[in-house]
Each structure stands twice: as structure tokens, then as C-alpha cells.
């Protein structure tokens, strides 16, 4: 282990060379909002919510994928960053058809939480209102693309933890969808083990279990670091 010392928001902190800015910040009780990040899964730097300013670097860096370096000086919040993050959340709300009040994840949704945290009171951007499908063909689970934010946690948990790689992403741009088995209905998937990990890691109500009430649909995610550790022990 080699230690790196750096400054985050004016505070002297230290972390291991292979730790990310996000990890070190959280260890030091410095909050950085995230959506695609989930402890126990690989990081992809896709939602861009965790972008931070690093002195001497002329672009913003995603804290979840940027390793700490000796002497680094990081700012995790500023009016500009706050504004960018608000816009990211607003863009996500406007991209698909998010209706918190009738959502199975109402009150335990990370998108809803992020909107609250960033103080969004309304949306100025026009909603895109696409017609997207709901796949309820699986006997236990449903994917409602109206609520999907393409964080790819389901893709990663299925590949990295369950090692089934049932999920992947199809198409590009606004046409992107998470799909099962090359686009066959979930219920017909031959690779899905019905383990339900994807449902547990979903930050919104896009993936949910049939027959559960909103109150019962809370996600359980603490199994991830445990499974990951177990896997590493075995290797």
C-alpha cells in the first residue's frame, strides 16, 4: 500500500494509490453525488454526476474513476458543478417518462433523492416523452424502460457478480435500451438465472419485483461488497 496525500475542498486527506477520489472523499465524510456508481461494481463514469474540479487539469474529472494522486487538489462542489449536476438530473427526468407519484420506487429512488439533494423544484427543459416499452414477460420481474436512466448497474452486476451477462445495452444515443439476451423478451432469456440482483441494484423503479408494494420494493444492496469480497477470497 502506498499512501497519497491530497487536498479535497481545502481539507488534507490521505488515501491509497489505487483508490479513487470518490472513495477517499467518502472515507473523509465528503459527499459527492453519484448515480451510476455502486460500491461493489466496477465504475464506468457514465452519469457524470460526480465530476469534480482538479487543480491544473483543464477538464472536469469523474471522481468515481479518477485515482488519487500525490499533491492533488480537488474541489467537489462549486456553483458551476452544482449547476451542471442539476442539469444532469433535469436531463434524466426529461429523457424518459418519470412519474414519481405512481412509481414503485417512490421514496426510495436515487434519482428522486438526487433531485431533492440538488434542490430541483421544477424543470425548464422540454420533456422528450418517448414511447418506450415495459417488459413484464419474466415470471418474477419487470423492466419498465420509462424509468430507466441507463446507469448500467444491472448490466454490470449481472456480468461481474452473477456472471450471467444476461443484460447489455442496445442501440445508441436516445435509442439506447438495456436488453436481455440480444433483445429477446426477459421471460424467454436462457441466460437469466432469476437471481434478482439487477432488481436490487437498480437506482430507480425501472427494475422491480412483481407483486410487491411500493413500501416492500426497497432495494437491498449491501450484499454486493460482501459477494465481491467473497469472490476475491476465492481467487
Amino acid at each position: 500500500m502506498s499512501v497519497r496525500t491530497l487536498v479535497i475542498n481545502g481539507k488534507d486527506v490521505a488515501g491509497d494509490a489505487d483508490q479513487t477520489i470518490l472513495e477517499v472523499a467518502r472515507e473523509n465524510s465528503i459527499h459527492i453525488p453519484t448515480l451510476c456508481h455502486l460500491k461493489g461494481l466496477s465504475d464506468v463514469g457514465a452519469c457524470r454526476l460526480c465530476v469534480v474540479e482538479v487543480a491544473g487539469v483543464n477538464k472536469l474529472l469523474a471522481a468515481c474513476v479518477t485515482k488519487v494522486e500525490e499533491g492533488m487538489s480537488v474541489v467537489t462542489d462549486s456553483p458551476t458543478l452544482h449547476d451542471y449536476r442539476r442539469t444532469i438530473i433535469e436531463m434524466l427526468f426529461m429523457e424518459r417518462n418519470h412519474v414519481c407519484s405512481v412509481c414503485v420506487a417512490n421514496n426510495h429512488c436515487e434519482l428522486q433523492d438526487a433531485a431533492k439533494e440538488l434542490g430541483l423544484t421544477h424543470f425548464d427543459l422540454p420533456p422528450l416523452e418517448p414511447v418506450v416499452e415495459v417488459d413484464a414477460s419474466h415470471e418474477r420481474f419487470v423492466i419498465d424502460h420509462n424509468r430507466c436512466i441507463l446507469c448500467t448497474r444491472c448490466v454490470r452486476v449481472c456480468d461481474e457478480i452473477e456472471e450471467a451477462h444476461t443484460w447489455d445495452v442496445f442501440d445508441r444515443g436516445a435509442g439506447c435500451r438495456v436488453i436481455t439476451d440480444m433483445g429477446t423478451p426477459w421471460g424467454e432469456s436462457r441466460t437469466c438465472t432469476s437471481c434478482g440482483k439487477c432488481v436490487q441494484v437498480c437506482p430507480t423503479g425501472a427494475l422491480f419485483e412483481k407483486g410487491r408494494s411500493v413500501a416492500e420494493a426497497k432495494h437491498r444492496r449491501r450484499f454486493l461488497p460482501y459477494l465481491r469480497a467473497l469472490e476475491q477470497d476465492q481467487q
Partner: protein
């Protein structure tokens, strides 16, 4: 000193926000002491007054009737508050937007009706192509999302407005419940 005037308006919503308004319970007396409720679904006045200090709007703008009404209300209101998710985001009324009003009417008046199925041509106001949040149609001064916003939140906003301050709802805002 003349009392402030307060109005509430009900567009395309479920009236849940008005229920939450009533849930202020005994604090309603406090509000009533400082402002007159001059127009509301909860009172009997039929004409919107010439000028109202604060108007709370529940519901999205979904029909020609809603549109006409909110434009009129805006013209006669000093501070307009979008109250609740339908007014703020179009919420449930907006769920028809990807499909347009045609399939919605078909579903409601033809497919789900067993006797004398027909599309309404009278009384029911004509639906707009899209159901829209209030601020996409007229200027809005204060946003209070929530489905519904709690009585505490509503009281705080009304309290602040009656005290002559524009409340910063960013600190307490939340979509859904």
C-alpha cells in the same frame, strides 16, 4: 391595513393538493386571520376577483378550459404558486403525452365503456395535444412540488408569502411523496 387575498385553483389534478391544504387543520385559522380566501373550489365564489395577492394552482394544463382559466388567473394574480407535481411537472395527467389525446379518449370513452360508447362532444372540454406544467403556459413565481406537498410545506410557503417573502422551496422540494 387591508387583509391579503388568497385563492386556490383546481386544473387537471386529483384534488389531493387541496386535501393537503385542508390538512393544515388548525393552522387554517392562522391563515384565515391573515388572508381572505377569495376564490377556491372550497368556497362559493364563482368569479375570479380583479386582483389576488397569492394564488395556489393545483393540476396540469390539459384542456382548452384549463388553458383559458390559467391565463385568466395569471392576469389577475400577483404571486402564482404551482402547487404539487401535476402543476409543476404535469405528473399523472402528462402520462398520456407520448401517445396523444386520441388513444386516451379511445381508451376512456370507447374501449372501457359497455353501453353507448362514444367520444364526448359537449360539456367535456377539448383536450390539448399535450398536458403541460403550469409554467410552460404562464409565468410561475413559486414552485412547490410533491404528490401532494405536505400540509407543513404548504403552510410554510403560504406563511412566508403572507409575510411578504418569496420562499426558497429548493431546500424542501421533493417530487412524489
Amino acid at each position: 391595513m387591508t387583509k391579503a387575498t388568497l385563492a386556490t385553483v383546481w386544473l387537471d389534478g386529483c384534488s389531493g393538493c387541496h386535501m393537503s391544504f385542508l390538512d393544515m387543520d388548525e393552522r387554517l385559522l392562522d391563515v384565515a386571520a391573515r388572508a381572505d380566501l377569495v376564490y377556491s373550489p372550497l368556497v362559493d365564489v364563482k368569479e375570479f376577483p380583479a386582483m389576488v395577492d397569492v394564488t395556489l394552482v393545483e393540476g396540469a394544463v390539459s384542456s382548452e378550459d384549463d388553458l383559458e382559466k390559467i391565463r385568466m388567473v395569471r392576469a389577475h394574480t400577483r404571486i402564482l404558486v404551482s402547487l404539487g407535481d401535476c402543476a409543476v411537472t404535469a405528473n399523472v395527467p402528462g402520462m398520456r403525452n407520448p401517445y396523444g389525446p386520441g388513444p386516451l379518449l379511445q381508451r376512456a370513452y370507447i374501449e372501457n365503456v359497455t353501453i353507448n360508447a362514444q367520444l364526448p362532444s359537449q360539456v367535456v372540454p377539448k383536450l390539448l395535444a399535450k398536458s403541460r406544467p403550469v409554467h410552460k403556459v404562464v409565468d410561475v413565481d413559486v414552485f412547490l412540488p410533491g404528490c401532494p406537498p405536505s400540509a407543513d410545506q404548504i403552510f410554510w410557503v403560504v406563511d412566508e408569502l403572507l409575510a411578504g417573502r418569496i420562499p426558497d422551496t429548493a431546500k424542501m422540494s421533493r417530487f412524489g411523496t
